[in-house]
């Protein structure tokens, strides 16, 4: 198999949500000397990009995305140990979680999958994440982005508290805050001192890219 065939195979199998196939192509990639990072970015990530586009236009929905993500992670698990040092964090590092007080994490999980597929190094803090834990983790790993979501209006004030905590820790200039979730908006993001807002998982990729550039400026 050629390099192109293997990368396309990875992408197609990711879209199909076929974990056996993605694992098989991941092994083939390593066997034929394809750089592991390239296999993820030019194979799996391309597949997830197609998935993202299909979701955007209503051809795929959450169950199908989760199936594709499962297939993607089957390949990533094989490829990741072979990634050369420094490459994974080149795109950006993100601490992600659902804000303290809220447990709705479907949206957060989709954003994590999309960012993972786009090459970001992700630390997923889960849901109902204490404000201090979110901020401290960002400081600990020198995160480019803290991504926080909520579905509830009652927990929107906690998003501001995360921003305030990053300021208190003195890392707000180099750690940008991306927020999302049904009751939020760009206007709200600005009002609490967050740096950007994304309407959905697909939009998160673009916003994250801009924020990493700003964080490293």
């Amino acid at each position: 198999m050629t390099r192109e065939e293997i990368l396309k195979g990875l992408a197609d199998a990711t879209v199909e949500g076929d974990s056996e196939k993605t694992a098989m192509f991941a092994h083939k990639a390593l066997d034929t000397g394809i750089d592991a990072y390239d296999a993820i970015m030019q194979g799996c990530a391309q597949g997830m990009k197609i998935v993202s586009d299909k979701y955007e236009c209503g051809d795929m929905f959450v169950p199908e995305i989760l199936l594709s993500a499962e297939a993607m992670y089957a390949a990533i698990d094989i490829l990741k140990p072979h990634i050369k040092a420094g490459k994974a964090s080149a795109t950006g590092t993100v601490v992600i979680g659902v804000v303290e007080g809220d447990i709705h994490d479907i949206g957060k999980n989709l954003v994590r999958i999309m960012l993972d597929a786009s090459g970001y190094q992700i630390v997923d803090m889960g849901r109902d994440v204490p404000i201090m834990d979110m901020a401290n983790k960002a400081k600990e790993i020198k995160a480019d982005i803290v991504a926080i979501s909520t579905l509830m209006t009652t927990t929107m004030p906690n998003m501001k508290k995360v921003v305030d905590q990053l300021v208190a820790l003195g890392i707000k200039r180099t750690t940008k805050v991306l927020i999302g979730g049904a009751p939020t908006s760009m206007e709200f993001a600005k009002s609490i001192g967050a740096d950007s807002w994304c309407k959905d998982a697909t939009a998160a990729i673009g916003e994250a890219g801009k924020l990493v550039v700003e964080a490293r400026r």
Binding site: G58, F61, V62, P63, M152, T153, T155, S185
Partner: protein, 372 residues
């Protein structure tokens, strides 16, 4: 405060209540009373307005119901009280509920279904099991408090069935359930059958105790943001039909409030097959990110059910009274002549910390533009 919190409200004004009752009955008896009724779907907003918190609202149904009734009089809203939350009847099926200051009761800890084999052990809770369970005990403590006290006029026994799809997902974990809809559809259907049978039995238990049981159910997880139209039908619509049929056969109903929460841009037409009773309210949230246009809901459902409007809850929480008033005015003008009646409402429950001026803006619009 020495008195019990649920007793900390003065008596409801009888004249107001009598007037509001006529207004509330209007859409269901084909009479256009003085004006369009307003139902922002008041839940913990009532507790916050009354000086209590979310946790108290949900932990103490008597307080919850009393605060809703009081808030209804305060804002000139419905003549009936209600109190409910989404993860109802879940404890009876092995879930643990946690009460917090920011959310309605949530399913906490390990889910009853960890692996596919666990599904085989699932058994629906029968009527007697429901009657002995914690949810029914709490609910009836609140209902009896309303029915037998000064709030009797507000009392309607409600069976809150929530979204069978979402409840089923809570049994497993939402992500896992979503994946299983593709990988293990048989297991998903077994879980959903269990949830629906349990929920129907709960409706029957309520009807058995109080003579009838208004059913409040809706497609929350079964919506166009999360599931394909085919899956909305398979895991949403079909189970709503099954639930209502079984509950009606056991004496529940006749009132039905269908609350199609979230975005239904791709699937609304599929819900046309729902069971209808003479007292059906159809309430649709969003079309994409926007409130579902009332004109379209009226066209699809207006001749079949009382329709309810849907001010965006984000606008209620963050908007200005003028914006809420203008949006309300348009919705009322679009919906007030709906053939089977119209109620002005929010797209989902009004957020707990909504400025009260925004509720007033809804009512003011109804008074000024919703006159009959």
């Amino acid at each position: 405060m020495s008195t019990l919190p649920e007793l900390s409200f003065p008596a409801i004004n009888a004249d107001w209540h009598a007037h509001a009752t006529k207004r509330f009955a209007g859409p269901f008896v084909g009479v256009n009373f003085d004006r369009v009724d307003v139902d922002p779907v008041i839940l913990p907003y009532a507790a916050i307005q009354s000086g209590f918190g979310l946790k108290e609202f949900y932990q103490n149904p008597r307080l919850g119901m009393a605060s809703v009734c009081w808030t209804n009089e305060m804002h000139d809203l419905l003549s009936v009280g209600h109190w409910f939350y989404s993860n109802v009847w879940m404890r009876e099926l092995g879930c643990t509920l946690k009460y917090t200051d920011t959310l309605p009761p949530i399913v906490d800890g390990a889910r009853p279904i960890q692996k596919p084999e666990d599904v085989d052990k699932l058994v629906p809770v029968d009527v007697s099991g429901i009657e002995k369970g914690p949810t029914f005990t709490e609910l009836t403590s609140g209902y009896d408090f309303m029915k037998n006290g000064p709030l009797a006029g507000f009392f309607v026994p409600i069976h809150w069935g929530f979204c069978p799809t979402a409840m089923s997902a809570e049994m497993v974990g939402v992500d896992k359930f979503m994946l299983w809809t593709i990988k293990q559809p048989k297991l998903c259907h077994k879980i959903m059958d269990t949830i629906v049978d349990t929920s129907a039995n709960a409706a029957i238990a309520i009807a058995k105790r109080y003579g009838f049981a208004m059913m409040v159910i809706g497609g929350v997880l079964a919506n166009s943001d999360l599931l394909s139209p085919a899956k909305v039908k398979e895991y949403g619509v079909d189970y709503h039909i099954k639930l209502v049929k079984k509950a009606f056969k056991g004496g529940a109903g006749p009132q039905l409030w269908y609350h199609l929460c979230g975005n239904h841009s791709r699937d609304l037409a599929l819900w046309k097959d729902l069971i209808m009773s003479p007292f059906t309210v159809m309430h649709v949230g969003y079309k994409g990110k926007e409130s579902y246009p009332i004109k379209e809901i009226k066209e699809m459902w207006g001749n079949r059910a009382t329709i309810m409007s849907n001010v965006d809850t984000k606008l209620m929480y963050r908007g200005h009274p003028k914006e809420v008033y203008e949006v309300s005015k348009q919705m009322i003008l679009d919906g007030k002549d709906s053939p089977r009646g119209f109620v002005h409402g929010c797209a989902c429950e009004v957020p707990a910390y909504t400025p009260s001026a925004n509720i007033y803006a809804m009512v003011k619009a109804a008074r000024e533009w919703g006159k009959y």
